[in-house]
């Protein structure tokens, strides 16, 4: 055991049990997986991804590049850092070689989102962030304070003094003040991982295993963002520095003060920065034998004196060149002579990198500071302040002042004693074999890899990063990125400041997809829209298809039927007797106002203003480019009122389109548009016996063709409920669309079904509807068209007004290309074998004399847009867009199906009832 008494903020009165690599071990609340393992002398957690070298932990938090574990229990999660996993009772984990496995079972935990709005968001609850939050709270501002570690205090160890008392007492006092303050939200274990425009920050809260939710993404909109995210220490590159037992000096200090773990008994500290001396003294006090190797020519006088007092040997002017050991480090090789200095822990400090990610995310520029030997924020960003170590300010007294100044006045800053500062050394690596000098331990990438990149001519750190993969692992180069810049600069003989760093992008630390998804998964992934008749379809055993967000009944298979059989039966019922379809999903727009007709004349290719009240007209809409984008029927309800129907999937788009013209182009038109899609349900009763069914249900209505003609509508009532009947047919058969307020739709469905029983009324779905309309050559916009098809291409010149001086799309019809006889036309295709179903999307080619598909390139004539089996025709048929198709009716062309060429005859689009005799029954 390496746990030392009197240190750490763990609860030693309680013991937890966990399993690592199959061995049951103990821990205390407050332990991370890494601290618990190190406390029991486990220093090797896994192996490296490419070379299989042993890997321990280098850091003590999210900066760690190598301590990767796979969690198995309580729920499988791949590639987490042992330094960031809180031990819970029953935790099962194992070390992994840079790869984990995803869970194969659904995650039953809940993940959530929350929106927060505040005047000031402070990121980081170290000394700078705490003071910034305190001053903002005292000024009465709405404050959100987030910090990624379980407890506030940042890198304060408790050995520091603030306002004359131990630092952690100060931390507790500020936390208590914030807890008591109104308008303050203080979240620990919450990582701000992305910073976006206008003060928008995303933060991930880990609520704890077993909590509901398990994790929560906070979407924070802040008036100001104060980044007090601290800094990460960086290592120095030397041979075999990837060996377990080599650790950042700050990590060893953190493990001691946070978890009571003494990570080694015989310690060598290799540094070019004063901060490592504090670690040396702390570990010495905790019982370790410590020796300091300082690569600077002179050791800092004050620290050297304190070390001398403690009996710590300090060797300035030399360096560490390598390590010896098996799995764990056994000795440091010091100086050019590579003198063996025994140790079981080799601490390294190459200086610090300000954690300025959240400044970079929003475009903040970083500049190299020679004195700091690091990149720090340069210049100002509106609404964003960077303070403390994140700003490159490391002395505690200055950190506190910056924190106070960010939200209040520096004069209100708590007091800390000034510190002796000696110049930092600049040391990226020591002399040695570049192939054994690992820069990114997570990627097994070495100085030799950088040298190869530079040798290949790369001069940008962005290119070197991608060539070497340095900085692309889970840690995104928190410790290795700047080292790579420094070493690349050295190899290029350029100053590192001129080279710069790679770009920091969100997320700052890995974020589980489950957390990003929150509750938007499963049934809640996307809204599901069902019609008021949905339950009836379910009861009838319907298969459903998705049309946009709608669930539409596709067909109603009877026991033993597949879709093909069900659709043939449903088609035969409609053509032979009567069927009923739920058409409630059709888009419906109420167009109202004295200029309603003027607007519709602008937007439809045909005239709508001449439509008489009580009548219905089919219309086509085009864009300015003259291409069809929607179609539907228009009912004139009154002189100043129309009801426009749209395709199911395009309803919102058509309403948007109409609104756009009304608001931006013709704002003087007196017209208002209202979506009534969900207010009205439409049940289509179709087939030669539909008149009987309607007549039976609506006994007061004269349903004769003379009294109720095709493309007319009339209002009636059913037990006092208003109902609209319209003679509209999308099947070519006699048909009535029955419209009722959606509240009554299910009841109306039942009544129509009951009334139709004598004629065997058959519910039919969208697949049957598609077959029936295709047999009549009615196109489905978006299936038979693709945004390059004009009304003329569809054979709908009849729907294009020649009287109107203008309408949207008209001018484009006059382009020469529109008159090209080789445009693709909608036609029908009948396979000459009367048997083959042509796959939709199939290409159409000329039929070669030998019946064999020639080698490419083969000229394409067009493609199959719709293809079905027809009960009426007794054979499969298709609709297709074919070059000059209308002029080739009767010709035989070919469709490759698998490795066969299927001969197909081009025909007119209307295959069933070309005379249109059936629509009147």
């Amino acid at each position: 055991m390496t746990r030392v008494d009197g240190y750490g903020r763990i609860d030693r009165t309680r013991t937890l049990s966990f399993t690592f690599d199959g061995i049951v071990r103990t821990a205390h609340p407050g332990d991370t997986l890494a601290s618990a393992l190190l406390a029991q002398g486990v220093t090797t957690l896994g192996t490296s991804v490419r070379l299989g070298r042993p890997r321990g932990v280098l850091g003590s938090w999210t900066e760690d590049p190598c301590g990767l574990v796979q969690i198995e229990e309580p729920f499988p999660e791949p590639m987490l850092l042992a330094t960031t996993v809180d031990v819970v009772d029953g935790l099962v984990a194992r070390g992994v070689p840079g790869r984990g496995r995803l869970a194969e079972v659904a995650d039953t935990a809940r993940y959530d989102h929350r929106h927060l709005h505040c005047d000031v968001l402070v990121v980081g609850a170290g000394p700078a962030g705490l003071v910034a939050a305190r001053e903002a709270a005292r000024a009465g501002q709405d404050v959100v304070l987030v910090d990624d570690r379980p407890t506030p205090g940042g890198t304060l160890t408790g050995t520091e003094m603030i306002d004359g008392r131990p630092a952690l007492e100060f931390v507790d006092a500020v936390a208590a003040e914030l807890a008591a303050a109104p308008h303050v939200t203080h979240l620990q274990a919450t990582t701000a991982f992305g910073h976006y425009d206008d003060g928008f920050v995303l933060a991930l809260e880990r609520c704890g295993e077993g909590s509901d939710p398990r994790q929560r993404v906070h979407r924070i909109r802040a008036g100001r963002v104060v980044v007090a995210a601290g800094a990460f220490e960086r290592p120095i590159v030397f041979e075999d520095a990837d060996r377990p037992g080599v650790m950042l000096a700050s990590a060893a200090r953190d493990l001691l003060h946070r978890h009571g773990v003494l990570a080694g008994r015989v310690v060598v500290v290799f540094t070019v920065d004063d901060s490592a001396y504090a670690a040396a003294l702390d570990l010495h006090r905790a019982g370790a034998a410590v020796r300091v190797v300082d690569a600077r020519a002179e050791a800092p006088a004050g620290w050297a004196r304190r070390c001398a007092d403690a009996g710590i040997v300090v060797e300035p002017g030399t360096d560490v060149r390598g390590t010896l050991g098996d799995d764990r480090v056994r000795a440091a090789l010091v100086g050019e002579a590579r003198r063996e200095v025994p140790c079981d822990l080799l601490l390294v400090s190459g200086g610090w990198n300000p954690t300025a990610h959240l400044f970079s995310h929003v475009g903040g520029r970083l500049a190299f500071d020679d004195e700091l030997v690091g990149f720090r924020p340069a210049g100002d960003l509106p609404g964003t302040a960077v303070v403390g170590a994140a700003h490159g300010t490391y002395a505690l007294a200055d950190v506190l002042r910056e924190g106070a100044a960010a939200t209040g006045s520096a004069t209100d800053a708590p007091h800390a004693e000034p510190e002796e500062i000696t110049p930092r050394g600049t040391l990226w690596r020591t002399p040695g074999d570049p192939a054994r000098q690992f820069v990114d331990i997570a990627r097994d990438a070495t100085v030799a890899d950088i040298a190869r990149a530079v040798g290949a001519g790369m001069t940008s750190v962005e290119h070197v990063k991608r060539y070497t993969t340095i900085g692309t692992a889970h840690d995104q180069g928190k410790t290795s990125g700047i080292l790579a810049s420094g070493i690349t600069a050295e190899l290029l003989g350029r100053p590192v400041g001129a080279l710069g760093t790679t770009t920091f992008r969100p997320p700052y630390t890995p974020v589980p997809f489950a957390a990003l998804a929150g509750r938007d998964r499963g049934d809640l992934y996307d809204p599901v829209r069902t019609t008021p008749v949905h339950d009836r379809h379910v009861a009838l055993g319907a298969e459903f298809e998705d049309v946009g967000q709608w669930k539409r009944a596709r067909h109603y298979p009877r026991p033993g039927e597949d879709m093909a059989a069900a659709v043939l039966r449903e088609c035969a019922a409609v053509r032979g007797a009567v069927g009923m379809m739920d058409g409630s999903t059709l888009g419906k727009i109420d167009v109202r106002g004295p200029d309603a007709g003027v607007l519709l004349d602008h937007l439809y290719t045909n005239l709508m203003s001449t439509l008489k009240v009580g009548r219905v007209r089919y219309g086509v809409m085009c864009g300015n480019d003259g291409m069809v984008f929607d179609d539907g029927t228009v009912l004139r309800l009154a002189e100043d009122r129309f009801l426009v129907t749209t395709t199911t999937g395009n309803a919102a788009h058509v309403l948007d389109w109409m609104e756009e013209w009304v608001q931006t182009e013709w704002p003087d038109l007196r017209v208002r548009l209202t979506s009534v899609t969900e207010q009205w349900s439409i049940l289509a009763v179709a087939g030669p016996r539909s008149r009987d069914v309607i007549g039976r249900v609506f006994a007061d209505v004269d349903v004769s063709n003379e009294a109720f003609g095709f493309m007319t509508w009339q209002d009636t009532e059913l037990d006092g409920v208003p109902v609209r009947l319209a003679r509209i047919s999308f099947s070519g058969e006699l048909a009535v669309e029955v419209t009722v307020a959606s509240w009554y739709a299910a009841d109306l469905w039942d009544r129509l079904l009951a009334a139709g029983e004598p004629w065997g009324i058959t519910p039919y779905g969208t697949e049957t509807m598609h077959v029936l309309r295709a047999e009549k050559g009615y196109p489905i916009i978006g299936q038979d068209t693709d945004g390059t098809v004009t009304p003329h291409d569809l054979g709908m010149a009849w729907a294009v007004s020649k009287k109107k001086t203008d309408f949207v799309g008209k001018r484009s019809f006059a382009r020469p290309l529109n008159a090209d006889p080789q445009r693709k036309h909608l036609v029908s295709l009948l396979p000459t074998d009367a048997a083959t179903m042509l796959p939709e999307g199939s290409q159409i080619v000329d039929l070669p004399d030998d019946g064999l598909l020639p080698p490419p390139p083969v000229a394409m004539l067009g493609h199959v847009t719709s293809s079905y089996r027809s009960a009426e025709l007794g054979r499969p048929f298709a609709l297709a867009l074919v070059r000059g198709g209308r002029d080739r009716v009767g010709e035989v062309v070919a469709v490759p199906v698998g490795d066969q060429l299927v001969a197909v005859e081009i025909g007119d689009t209307v295959l069933v009832d070309p005379e249109g005799a059936r629509r009147d029954g």
Partner: protein, 88 residues
């Protein structure tokens, strides 16, 4: 995610809005009077300046009103938003 100030609703998240391209492109008074190239320029051609750009946006998931914005294409910063068709 940016905030866009809707003239009716105030600052709202950009995901509530739909982009509507360049502003102030009036539908020609008489399209038939234009030659093919002039018509094609109206239908297909748009400016792409570096800097201030007058644009149309629609507050789709809010009041559903169109607005006219001036936005800097380098920084995305909105200089102004106002009801569409109004100059002040």
């Amino acid at each position: 995610m940016q905030l866009i100030t809707c003239p009716w609703c105030g600052p709202r998240e950009e995901t509530e809005f739909r982009y509507g391209g360049q502003a102030d492109l009036a539908y020609p008074a008489d399209p038939s009077a234009l030659d093919d190239e002039q018509w094609a320029r109206f239908v297909f051609f748009r400016d792409n300046p570096e800097g201030a750009f007058a644009e149309r946006w629609c507050h789709d998931a809010g009041c559903r009103r169109w607005l006219r914005a001036v936005r800097d294409t380098r920084t995305y910063v909105f200089a102004e938003t106002r009801p569409y068709g109004r100059t002040a």
